[in-house]
Every structure is written in structure tokens, then in C-alpha cells.
Amino acid sequence: MRVVVCVKQIPDPASPFELDPDTHFLQRPEDQVLDDTDRYGVEMGLTIAEQTEGSVALVSMGPAGSLQGIRQALAMGADRAVVIDDPNLRGADSLATARVLTAAISREGFDVVIAGTESTDGYSGVVPQQIAELLNVPLLSFAKKVDLEGDRIRIERQTDYGFDLVEAAPPAVITVTSGVVEPRYPTFKGIMAAKSKPIDQVSAGELGVTTAAGQEIVAVRAAPERAAGEVIEDEGDAHLRIVQLLEQAKVI
């Protein structure tokens, strides 16, 4: 199968994210890392490609920088990458992003598109759904398990109460949750090989997409500080109160 995996380079979450005071965009250093949630998507893509003697292409939109994060995904084993770095797309909303990624995915050709459920720097969580709609293919979302069965793809879709079994025939878009598979560690050979794997850097125009950012960030306000937690004084019945709270939170 031809697998396309959507990945994103983000600033290293180990250092706090900062916003540009003028544009309100996230400040992106030269060296960005592969979004950790994308490691699961890449692993899933590699697993499917290995099972079907297929290939894995990465598509990514955003400032390319040193391409460190893309190389991390290539070092895991992906075959090639397309990176859309276009100054006109800074601060793009999710629909604009989906349009651009869809154009790149269509150009690559695909049987399966895989993405994480949401990025760790933007958290909009709707881009994969929009891509599925734009590609006009089924969406298998929130997969915590993915199986290929004959010519169908069956997933376990994570829900609040358990999981739904959902299946579709490719071509399709799958979003995977963290933990769907255990991402492999890049090998030394993989890292060496990643140096020479093709990375195609294109603008939106070159993909035939005319789109603008689609939104303007007018102002940014700090989130309210988290309120102090509830203190339960134990007068012999605290355990009952705690059980009640846990039940309300639906964790037991």
C-alpha cells in the first residue's frame, strides 16, 4: 500500500513555547522536533507498508528550518518527504492547512493516509477530518488498534466508554491515538540513510493551491490560573466522598 503520513515539526516541548508579540504566532526555532504524537503515525505507516510491501511518504506543512524533525521520521524508516514551507501560510487555520496537505497527498498518490489525532503545538484536532472530506474518502478516527483484513481496514475506535469496531476499504484516512503501536527507535543505519532520502520542499502555489491563512489572531490572553483543588477534611467519611468524586469524574 502507498501510505502517506501527516507529520509536524514543533519546537522542542522541553523548553516552554513562546509567542511572537507582534504576530501572535508560535516562535519556531531553526531546529524543531518531530511531534511526539506523530511517532505513532509514522510507526503505524511503517507497519502497514511492511505488511503490504508498500512505501511511506511524509507530508508536512510549516517552516522547514533545519528539517531535523522530518529527518527523525525518515530515520525511523519513511521513504521520502514533502514539506510545504510557504510564508503566505503562516498562522493558517485548519481548513487552509487541510487544503494544502490534501493537495500534497493527492500529488503523492495514496491508499492510506495516517495522522495523529491532534498536534502538540496547535491542538485544533480537526485537520485529518477535513482532509478526509476534501479527499472524499472514509475517515477511521481515534484508532487505538488497526488491522488489515483482506482488502479492508478495521480499527478499534477509542470512545469514552470503550471502543467501536469500524471498518472501511481503502483509500481512507486513519487517525491514530498515542499507544496504537509502540514507535520504533531510529537505528544508527536509519539515521545515516535519512541523510540521503529525498525531501521535496514546495510552496502552496507549486501544488496548485491558492489559499490564504484564513484567519487572523487579533489578541492573545493568558489562560486563567487553575483554581485551587478541593480539600477534603477527613471526619471518618472522606473515603466515601472521594469515591463519589471519582464516580462523578467517571474514572471508576
Binding site: 522541553a14 526555532p29 531546529d31 533545519s66 531535523q68 529527518r71 527523525q72 530515520a75 527507535y185 531510529p186 537505528t187 544508527f188 543505519k189 539515521i191 545515516m192 535519512a194 541523510k195
Partner: protein, 600 residues
């Protein structure tokens, strides 16, 4: 619960600003060593080690390796953790590509090895020993031996050991009595008992390749009569498959103070019959020379354990000092409290740890870089110059860094206070694990003797004179760098002057009476390490200052580099400078009291 984050930032700083990756990439064969690749190597190796090796560090310490029914069982998870490193190809990175290695420079390997030693010093021993065996085989082994053993040792599919020590032959290797008798088929039969054999038996790999020092018939006594043999745990058939079990028995495992997951075995060779099957490496009676090949890299690797354990101890002490609230800061209102990092004496300990770890890291990476230059530089004269330099630094890396490793891990216990004395805090393990570093691969006393007896005079003293010259050469830059560098400059000049004087004294007096020099060997090594540390940190500070001027965004980190160098120069360097006294005091008071009168 202990924490560890690979010190990627500092490693990169040293590689880029003290060593210069461009100088590595300029060496023939290392053209692939670009910044992106190095970043990826450090990132990914560090990630695997932190995720997979580190969680087993404490459980491995508690469980230990055990001898069950004659074979050694390593702690739960170790086999899988070792295999993951093998599968990812990390154990092969130091070796030539023709045998399936990664051909990475020693400098980069050193950075990875530091992280391995921090996350799991016991497990990090296994590949270190294989490397010793490999170095000996590659340098001195026949093509036939290389064909059979090298590839699988390189990838980590098999491991190696170094069987040197016997009960009566420790630092005095020449006293060993293990025998090797020629067999009809050209192989040899080995008989004898070896002790303190690290990873002498284990369940990580299906075969173990012992390199054994033994005596052939009619050999002269002492070190001149020693030969080196390959003795596999399982004999290897012509097609490469494993055959019969060789006659090597694991008699017992030691109950050690630290690195408990690393099995330290007593091995009995040829107990059942006429001897274990062995194959001669190189020529007969050249074993002592081959042993040095085997141990040369090992000494730097042991030094790295000092850096590594110092680093992890520092990280934990730093985190704890920011959480633990105790007492009010001096001069603060009555009801104020502070995390203990606010107290001057705690801050002194933390700064001492930080500065020493950074100094050790710089020295060990410089040592590795000198090895790369000595091996790969196209110009023969340059190679020789760096060989002498690497030879000079090696005993210092080994002894100074392991001594400091013990001191820094001990200081971490002190920062934790009473909790630091409790095993659950994790601090005692770092200290216990660090303690062996000063003993094995040649005790630190032996390193000091090697330094003054062989390394100082080598090449007419070219290496030490070159090093002193380099230290003096940055004086102008320090003078021009502004007021903040004033103390660094004067104190470094004092230290270098004292070092020169001490070196001269050793040369003069050692000639007349070697025991005079021997008496000052240990303080001299400490002095050289301490002054060199100040020099490397001063160079780091100059590089940081330059980057700041260029408008580097990494302001806090670079400012801290300068302040760390200042602290080291003002607080630690003078202790090294003051060793001029002890170095030149001579042997008189050491031997003044008759041994019979030394009790109380």
C-alpha cells in the same frame, strides 16, 4: 525515583566550540560527520538509553546478576535492553564499515558512551569489554581470527572479556601462572584460574569471547613470558555456527559494593580435562604489549563513568535542592523559608559538582579527539604529535575523572542530607557504582605512575610542553575579554606556572631517584587534571563570550558557561595549584616511619 536527561546541550557545546566538528569532518574517512548527523546520533542514542536502559538501573542494582546452576542470569530486562541497543546498531558505531561498523569518530562515540554510563553503568560495561577484545584482535589477530570473531563482537551479537587478573597477579600482571600448552592441531590448551572477570559469564548473548593472558612452556618469568589467547565460551565451527561448549567454568560471582548488575566472575579454564581450547593472538610472548592495546580505550571509557555518574548525581542533587524547603535564608525575615539551593553551602556543593562535571567532560572529549587525530590525520608528524597528546591525557581522564566521579557522587549524597544515606533515594547507588572506577583498568595510583614515568618523558616531553604552551596561549584572549575574565586569567597563569614547576621538579628528581617522583605522582596527576580543567573551562567561557557578542539567542546557557568557569578558577583551581607543595615534597615523610611503628 531518580531522574536523568541526556546533557545534550553541554555535549553539543563542547563538540562545536571546544573540539570543532569541522576539524573532525576534515579527517579522511570522517567526511560524513556533519552537525545534523551528530545531533541525530546524540538525540536518538540518548533517547533509547534514557527510555530503555535507565529504568533498569536501580532494579538491576537491587536484583544483581546471579549464578544459578553454573550459569549467570542477569537482572530482569537486561537481555532485552542490551538487544535493543544491538538491533539499533549503536554498539557497532566505533568500528570500521568493512566489518559492519558505523565508522564514527572516537569523539562522538565518547559522547554516546557517557550517556550509556549514566543511564546504566553496569550494562555499559558489556560493550566496553567487547571493545577491548576487538581492539586487540583488530590490531594483532590473524586474518583467520578476525574472520571468525570480529564481526559478531562488533555488532554486539557476542561480547568479549579481558582475563588478566589472578589471585596472586593483580597490578603485577607478570606474576600470573595460567598455562598454555600447544595442541597437535595448532591450537592451544589453557589451564588456570582468572578472577575479577567482568561479564565473564552472562545470558545477554549466545557466545562470549574470552581474551586470556597465559604462559607458554619455557617462557621467561615476569611480563616478558606472557602470551594472549582467544578462548570462546562455545567453539565456533567452520561455517560460523556454534559447536561444543568449551571447558570454561564459572566458579563464582563476586558480591560487590557497586555495579552489581555487572557479573564479576571467577573463571576456571581447563578444569575438566587437558585444557580449554584457545587460539594464539599474534606472536608468543607479546601478550603484555597486546594487553595495553586492549586496555587503552578501556581507560578512557572508565574515565567516562566518572563524568557520567557525576552528571547524573548532579542532575538529581540540583532537582532535590530546588524542592527541599528547609530553614530561612541568612538575613531573611523570621518566617521566610527557602529551598536548600538558597543556602550558600549547598550552592557551593552544586557549583562544585557542575563545574567539575563540565571540566571532566571537556577533558575526556578532548582526549577522544586526540585519539581521532592520532589515528586519522593524513600527516604523519601530526599523527605522532596527537598520539603523544592522547597518551598523556589518557591516565588523567581515567584517574582524575574517576576520583572526581567519587567526590561528586558523594557530594550528591550530602546535598540530600539524611535521605541521601537511604538507598531508596538512589544517591548511594551512584556513589557505590562510581567507586570501582578508581580501581579497575589499572588503579589510579598506577595511572599516576604511568603518567610521570612514561607519559611525561615520552617524545622528550613534547606532549606536556605542548599542553602548557596551549594553556599559556589563551592569556591574551583572556586579557582582552573584559573584567569578568580577570580572575580566570591570573589564577590560570598561577596554575600553569605551578604545573610547569612541578613538571620540572619531577623530571629532575625522577632521574636521580625514581621513588622521589613516585611519591609525588598522585598529587601531580590531580594537579594536571585540575589545571587542565580550568583551561578547558576558560576556553569554553571565551567561546561563550564570543557567541554572546554575535547575538546568540542562547543567552542564559552561555552566561552560565562564563560564570561556571569563574567559579572553577576562583574556588577549585587554587586547590590544584597548591599541590605544587605535595608534588615536590618528595618521599622523605612517606617513608620516615618504620612500618613496624606505624600502628597506634
Amino acid at each position: 525515583m531518580t531522574v536523568y536527561a541526556p546533557p545534550l546541550k553541554d555535549l553539543r557545546f563542547v563538540l562545536h566550540n571546544l573540539i570543532g566538528l569541522d576539524r573532525l569532518a576534515a579527517l579522511p574517512g570522517f567526511e560524513h560527520v556533519e552537525a545534523d548527523l551528530v545531533d541525530a546520533v546524540l538525540d536518538e542514542a540518548g533517547k533509547l538509553l534514557t527510555d530503555v536502559w535507565f529504568p533498569l538501573n536501580r532494579t538491576g542494582d537491587i536484583e544483581g546478576s546471579q549464578l544459578r546452576d553454573g550459569t549467570v542470569v542477569t537482572p530482569a530486562g537486561f537481555k532485552d535492553a542490551y538487544e535493543q541497543m544491538v538491533q539499533a546498531g549503536w554498539l557497532g558505531i566505533p568500528f570500521p564499515t568493512e566489518y559492519g561498523g558505523g565508522n564514527m569518530p572516537a569523539t562522538i562515540v565518547t559522547a554516546v558512551t557517557e550517556m550509556a554510563n549514566a543511564t546504566n553503568p553496569s550494562l555499559a560495561m558489556a560493550p566496553a569489554l567487547s571493545q577491548g577484545a576487538l581492539d586487540a584482535l583488530l590490531e594483532h589477530g590473524s586474518e583467520e581470527l578476525k574472520e571468525i570473531y570480529v564481526r559478531r563482537l562488533m555488532t554486539g551479537e557476542w561480547t568479549g572479556t579481558m582475563c588478566l587478573t589472578e589471585p596472586q597477579a593483580g597490578s603485577d600482571v607478570g606474576a600470573l601462572t595460567t598455562k598454555a600448552l600447544p595442541a597437535d592441531d595448532g591450537s592451544w590448551r589453557i589451564q588456570g584460574t582468572k578472577i575479577f572477570i567482568s561479564f565473564g559469564d552472562h545470558d545477554l548473548t549466545e557466545n562470549i569471547i574470552h581474551l586470556v593472558l597465559a604462559r607458554t612452556p619455557d617462557s621467561p618469568p615476569g611480563t616478558k613470558g606472557i602470551s594472549l589467547f582467544v578462548v570462546p565460551k562455545y567453539l565456533v565451527e567452520d561455517d560460523g555456527s556454534l559447536g561444543e561448549s568449551n571447558d570454561v567454568k564459572t566458579v563464582s560471582l563476586e558480591h560487590k559494593m557497586g555495579i552489581k548488575a555487572s557479573p564479576t566472575a571467577v573463571l576456571s579454564f581447563g578444569e575438566e580435562g587437558e585444557g580449554s581450547v584457545g587460539y594464539l593472538v599474534g606472536e608468543e610472548r607479546m601478550g603484555m604489549r597486546y594487553m595495553f592495546t586492549m586496555m587503552n580505550n578501556a581507560r578512557l571509557a572508565v574515565g567516562l563513568s566518572g563524568v557520567a555518574l557525576g552528571e547524573i548525581a548532579y542532575q538529581n542533587a540540583l532537582a532535590y535542592s530546588q524542592e527541599r524547603v528547609q530553614s530561612r535564608p541568612i538575613g531573611a525575615p523570621e518566617d521566610a523559608v527557602t529551598p536548600i539551593i538558597g543556602h550558600a553551602d549547598v550552592r557551593r556543593m552544586l557549583m562544585t559538582m557542575k563545574a567539575q562535571v563540565e571540566a571532566m567532560r571537556a577533558l575526556t572529549l578532548e582526549n577522544a579527539f586526540a585519539l581521532d587525530m592520532a589515528r586519522n590525520h593524513p600527516d604523519e608528524e601530526t599523527r605522532e604529535q596527537y598520539r603523544l597528546y592522547a597518551d598523556l591525557l589518557t591516565p588523567v581522564s581515567k584517574a582524575w575523572a574517576t576520583d572526581l566521579g567519587i567526590e561528586v557522587t558523594s557530594m550528591a549524597i550530602q546535598v540530600y542530607g539524611g535521605l541521601g544515606y537511604i538507598e531508596e533515594s538512589g544517591m548511594p547507588q551512584f556513589y557505590r557504582d562510581a567507586r570501582i572506577g578508581a580501581i579497575y583498568e589499572g588503579t589510579n595510583g598506577i595511572q599516576a605512575l604511568d603518567l610521570i614515568g612514561r607519559k611525561l618523558p615520552a617524545g622528550g616531553g613534547a606532549a606536556i610542553m605542548g599542553m602548557v604552551g596551549n594553556m599559556k596561549a589563551i592569556d591574551g584572549e583572556l586579557a582582552a575579554a573584559g573584567d569578568r575574565f580577570n580572575s580566570m586569567r591570573t589564577l590560570l597563569a598561577d596554575g600553569v606556572a605551578a604545573l610547569e614547576q612541578a613538571t620540572g621538579w619531577l623530571a629532575m628528581n625522577g632521574m636521580q631517584d625514581p621513588n622521589q617522583a613516585a611519591a609525588g605522582a598522585t598529587p601531580y596527576l590531580r594537579m594536571l587534571g585540575t589545571v587542565a580543567g580550568a583551561y578547558f573551562l576558560a576556553k569554553s567561557a571565551l567561546a561563550a563570550s564570543k557567541l554572546l557578542e554575535e547575538g546568540s539567542p542562547d543567552k542564559e546557557f552561555l552566561e552560565a558557561k562564563i560564570d561556571t568557569a569563574r567559579f572553577y578558577a576562583e574556588q577549585l583551581l587554587p586547590l590544584g595549584t597548591a599541590l605544587l607543595g605535595p608534588v615536590t615534597a618528595g618521599k622523605e615523610t612517606l617513608f620516615a616511619i618504620d612500618p613496624d611503628q606505624m600502628g597506634h
